[in-house]
């Protein structure tokens, strides 16, 4: 039995430690893997706000992940081709600056999350699962045939975007950025979970009638959670695109939405550190099982089954069972 705070700090320390150790021993690919973990964890942490705190099973969070990716891709594409981006009413220049790209990714994802959330939240249960999937699929098919930005081929960005004062081409520095953002978002979501908003959102999930009876509109609480959740996933998408220096419609794919859910459940639903544990385990499984057999996905599937059936609280739930709601 380990306290959640200790566990969280420990897990983050391990992730950071692995990357630093890899940097010290000149194993850049291990840093890349750690960066992948950090970014996927960030996306899953976003999803965890909707799914864990809000009880909104979004099967379409790849929508926001992809949007973030495309915001990065489009802005950087226009910067690298020195062409302005025509937004209809006005033109903006592309940019290779990470902070600006992040801001744009968060803003665009949040803006798209508003109408998507308004429509999707009219439904619940399986309908919600499916309508969120449908929205992601719409963007998937749209980007596949959107030839201006590469269609299915996607967009390559030749040089990773920059961050003031850092050399982002250096794997460990880029990892540092992603890791720092992850820590900030985890810290924010821990605060969010305990905040009045988190309390109200939790009530709206567990007993919507209660939330209403004390004067809160559960729909609005869920919408705000969905928007925050989407914005974080969008930020993660922009980072993921920068990790790969590439975006493609695959970022909108339903497999990715499924994987994000897998990460959250693997780690433990509504647990702050859950997404990091889930992402770490997933990337390790993918990496090490793949070395053992061509048919590694069979084993991945079986391991997932065991976890769903026998470890309901995910890995974090095994190590640190929850005592009170926001303990």
């Amino acid at each position: 039995m380990i306290g959640e705070r200790v566990l969280s700090l420990g897990v983050l320390a391990v992730l950071g430690g692995v990357a630093l150790l890899a940097a010290a021993t000149d194993e850049p690919f291990t840093i890349t893997l750690a960066t992948r973990v950090a970014i996927l964890a960030l996306a899953a942490a976003g999803l965890n706000i909707a799914l864990g705190l809000g009880g909104l099973v979004s099967f379409g969070h790849a929508l926001f992940f992809g949007l973030g990716g495309y915001v990065m891709g489009i802005l950087a594409f226009h910067a690298q081709t020195y062409t302005p981006l025509d937004l209809g009413l006005f033109e903006v220049a592309g940019t290779k600056s990470m902070p600006l790209i992040w801001l744009a990714a968060v803003a665009v994802s949040a803006l798209v999350a508003i109408p998507v959330g308004l429509l999707a939240l009219r439904t619940s249960g399986v309908y919600f699962i499916m309508i969120t999937l449908a929205f992601a699929q719409m963007f998937y098919y749209f980007t596949i045939s959107w030839s201006a930005y590469g269609g299915e081929d996607g967009l390559s960005i030749y040089v990773r975007n920059g961050f003031p004062g850092l050399n982002t081409l250096d794997p460990i520095q880029f990892f540092g950025l992603c890791f720092a953002l992850l820590c900030v978002v985890l810290w924010l979501s821990a605060r969010l979970a305990r905040s009045p908003f988190g309390l109200a959102l939790g009530a709206a999930r567990q007993a919507p009638a209660r939330a209403e009876a004390v004067g809160f509109d559960p729909m609005r609480l869920r919408l705000v959670a969905f928007i925050i959740s989407g914005a974080i996933a969008g930020l993660a998408g922009a980072l993921y695109a920068d990790l790969n220096r590439f975006v493609s419609p695959a970022m909108f794919g339903w497999h990715l939405s499924g994987e994000l859910i897998v990460l959250v459940i693997l780690g433990g639903v509504a647990r702050i550190i859950g997404p990091v544990v889930g992402a770490g385990l997933f990337v390790m499984l993918e990496h090490f099982l793949g070395q053992v057999t061509d048919f590694w996905q069979i084993w991945l599937g079986l391991i997932l089954l065991v976890i769903v059936l026998y470890a309901r609280g995910g890995i974090v739930g095994l190590v640190s069972p929850r005592r009170t709601g926001h303990g």
Binding site: R191, R194, G325
Partner: protein, 249 residues
């Protein structure tokens, strides 16, 4: 006579061919406990749902402190000062007792849009919540998970959350249901005192409690108000006896 705090004026509601409420008119005046009784299926739940905003009436209106709130949602009515308890506990089961009570206190502030400081480290909210828990006798249990509480304790918590709202009026849906005799007695004492803070519309099956507490009683039968009167009047009514007590006796 003071103006009524909560009023139902000619509320009618049908589900298909079933008429659940038929022109129900009653009011809740300051300082009183107004009990609504009636056999199962008399339309009590439908009435509560319409008063609180979960159901739109087919016709008629609901007034809260003289204002027409018929078109308002549950949440909007709650913010105007209508607090309710549920027949089947509606509580955040994974959260602690204190958190549930703080939720009510938060509701009283009117805004959940605070994202930063933890709810449990806001002294005013916690103080309000603890005071309410104290009054219902749950102070000791405040750090327990609701899921681990006994049925009776959950009933108490229902009332406590309503208390934290500091409302203008209470609507209580069978708060005594499933309580032992001791629990009922405790709650009866609490409600007795509470009526002076805000009047209570009490839907209850426990006749001992009703007769002990109610200033007035409305008898609902087949969706209609058979009569409204004092305890003595209701007890004396042959009509009520025939339609309701007679059946029960």
């Amino acid at each position: 006579m003071a103006d009524p705090v909560l009023e139902a004026r000619g509320l009618s509601k049908s589900f298909g061919a079933l008429v659940a409420n038929d022109a129900v008119t009653l009011d809740l005046r300051p300082g009183e406990i107004h009990a609504v009784i009636g056999p199962n299926g008399a339309g009590k739940s439908t009435l509560i749902a319409q008063l609180c905003g979960a159901l739109r009436p087919d016709s008629g209106e609901v007034r809260l402190q003289g204002e027409d709130v018929t078109g308002l949602s549950v949440a909007q009515r709650a913010r105007l000062g209508l607090a309710r308890t549920f027949q089947v506990s509606a509580l955040a089961m994974e959260d602690s007792v204190l958190e549930n009570a703080v939720l009510g206190a938060l509701g009283a502030t009117g805004s959940p849009w605070r994202f930063w400081r933890a709810a449990l480290s806001r002294p005013t909210l916690v103080a309000q919540a603890e005071a309410a828990l104290d009054r219902v006798g749950l102070a000791e249990a405040r750090h327990r998970r609701v899921a681990d509480l006994s049925h009776g304790q959950r009933r108490q918590l229902e009332v406590a959350v309503a208390l934290t709202l500091g409302p203008r009026a209470f609507v209580m849906d069978e708060p005594m249901a499933g309580l032992g005799s001791e629990g009922s007695a405790d709650l009866t004492r609490l409600l007795d005192a509470l009526r002076h803070e805000a009047p209570i519309l009490l839907v209850e099956h426990d006749m001992d409690a009703v007769f002990a507490l109610a200033d007035r009683i409305s008898v609902l039968v087949y969706g209609r108000v058979l009569m409204t009167g004092t305890v003595a009047e209701v007890r004396a009514s042959a009509e009520v006896r025939a339609a309701y007590l007679g059946d029960a006796a």
